[in-house]
Amino acid sequence: MFEATELNIRNHKVERLWGLLFLLMTVLLILPVLVILGVLVYKGGPIISVDFLFTEPKDGMTAGGIFPALVGTIWLVAVALLASVPVGVAAALYLSEYAPDNWLTRMINLAIINLAGVPSIVHALFGVGAFVLFFRFGTSILAASLTLAIMTLPVVIVATRESLQAVPHAFREACWNMGASRWQTIRHVVLPNSISGILTGVILEVSRTAGETAPIMFTGAAFFLPFLPQSVFDQTMAMSLHLFVISTQVPGVPEAMPFGVALVLIGMVLAMNAVSIGFRMYLRGKKKW
């Protein structure tokens, strides 16, 4: 009575085959990441030291450390975050909670998704035109960060909107039916239950801009500048551009150096992601439904 039929057995075999196939694809995906990390650690690891991290480059960038670039990248990402998060979150709140469902809203949503696909060099040129020249910020941290911010806005909006939509609609209805306004509903029910997703999603997205090179090379990042920036109107070195420069533009750089810079850059991004993921896990533990 409980004998497996021919069909049962075949289904079971097919099932295992598919499982194996998907596993293979996953391994294929992870492999490049592991190889890259492995090579970087193997070749760049030995050069990394306290001195490497916290001193200026010397001898035409063929020796010394990366401190100005490290600090510069932190500046760029921080200012970009400050600029893009309030605007992006506000826009997402409007689109998710206020906007009527009409063709204009749909067009805007479509435009946002497409905006995320604009190549970074186009953003760079826009940044030069808008921030460097038109607003007369010059080549500065401000101009570069705003360019990065514009570039990340679409993904910030999308990440935020997804977190907002994850809050069940029934909660909003219940709140409206009590006579709460849209804003009161957002303030007391929607935001408290989506803020963790918003923050972590946004940090994840924005941290990736640490590696962007094209948008900052014309707008605020300097080839070589052995000082720390004093304000947002200064130019600065940045890790990504520094990596590009010492890999391609400067002769006589020791082989380990670009690998070391790349390793530090990846380490920064991973550290930010780790903070973000830890934060998310902490908040998810307190999830209320």
Binding site: E173, N177, G179, H188, K288
Partner: protein, 262 residues
């Protein structure tokens, strides 16, 4: 088909007067040309099979159409003599109307906050007043004894039936003039349902109640008058006992209450 039973002489001032109400979602008509009166301090039952416009009717009463894309309401609804379209502020209107949904919605906050949120949003600040509201509403919803020792635990962690009673407590928290119950007993066990029905019988001294229900017998137990909706049409309104005991004036109503269809 509406005619005589809908607005009887002597209803000098009905609590809610509905005239020629038509509700559409896009092209689809959910409710067509309904006129009826709901009297002060009665339980007004609405019965009818699924998709007959009962819920849409409730949504129109507290102007949820504003927040529902595609929903269009024509005709007039007067609440205490005032056209609900003309309230300068729908939030003020909704504070007079409590709503309970078919499925429980425990907001993801503490039990205490679930019940005290609405009063707080409308400006009540004193802790003592809020405490009193919370206790009274939970008592009324037959939930107080089960949760009085853990008011600070999460409302969304209660069982389904408890969450539904929490929803009822929340609907009562602003002392509404009108209470809309949309199949409130779907998620509750029969014993608790009976307890809440008892509460409703007492409550109607102070509140006008509209009870949408799939349970024909529940309408019979509770409602003073009952309306029968069928496929977006109001078939008839009558005193509940008339509807159930004597021949209902419409054959379809009779068939429905006797369980011959629907």
């Amino acid at each position: 088909m509406v005619g005589q039973t809908a607005s009887q002489p002597g209803d000098a001032r009905p609590k809610v007067a509905v005239r020629n109400l038509t509700i559409r979602y896009g092209q689809k008509i959910a409710l067509q040309d309904v006129s009826l009166d709901i009297r002060e301090n009665e339980i007004f039952g609405i019965i009818g099979p699924a998709n007959s416009g009962k819920t849409s009717f409730l949504r129109a009463l507290n102007r949820m159409d504003l927040f529902t894309p595609g929903m269009r309401v024509d005709g007039t609804i007067r609440f205490d003599g005032r056209d609900v379209d003309k309230w300068r502020n729908v939030y003020a209107l909704r504070r007079h109307i409590g709503v309970v949904f078919p499925l429980p919605v425990g907001l993801p906050m503490t039990i205490y906050d679930n019940v005290s949120l609405a009063p707080r949003l409308s400006g009540v600040k004193k802790k003592a007043v809020l405490d009193e509201i919370v206790e009274r509403c939970l008592q009324r919803a037959a939930l107080w004894d089960e949760v009085k020792d853990r008011l600070n635990s999460l409302g969304s962690l209660l069982s389904g039936g408890q969450q539904q009673r929490l929803t009822i407590a929340r609907a009562l928290s602003q002392d509404p003039d009108l209470l809309l119950l949309d199949e409130f007993s779907i998620a509750i066990d029969p014993v608790t349902t009976m307890r809440i029905e008892d509460v409703l019988k007492v409550l109607k001294e102070e509140v006008t109640i509209v009870l949408v229900t799939n349970l024909v017998q529940q309408a019979r137990r509770l409602a003073d008058r009952t309306a029968f909706f069928l496929m977006g049409e109001l078939v008839e309104v009558a005193d509940t006992e008339d509807l159930f005991t004597r021949k209902a004036s419409d054959e379809r109503t009779q068939a429905y209450v006797e369980g011959r269809f629907g």
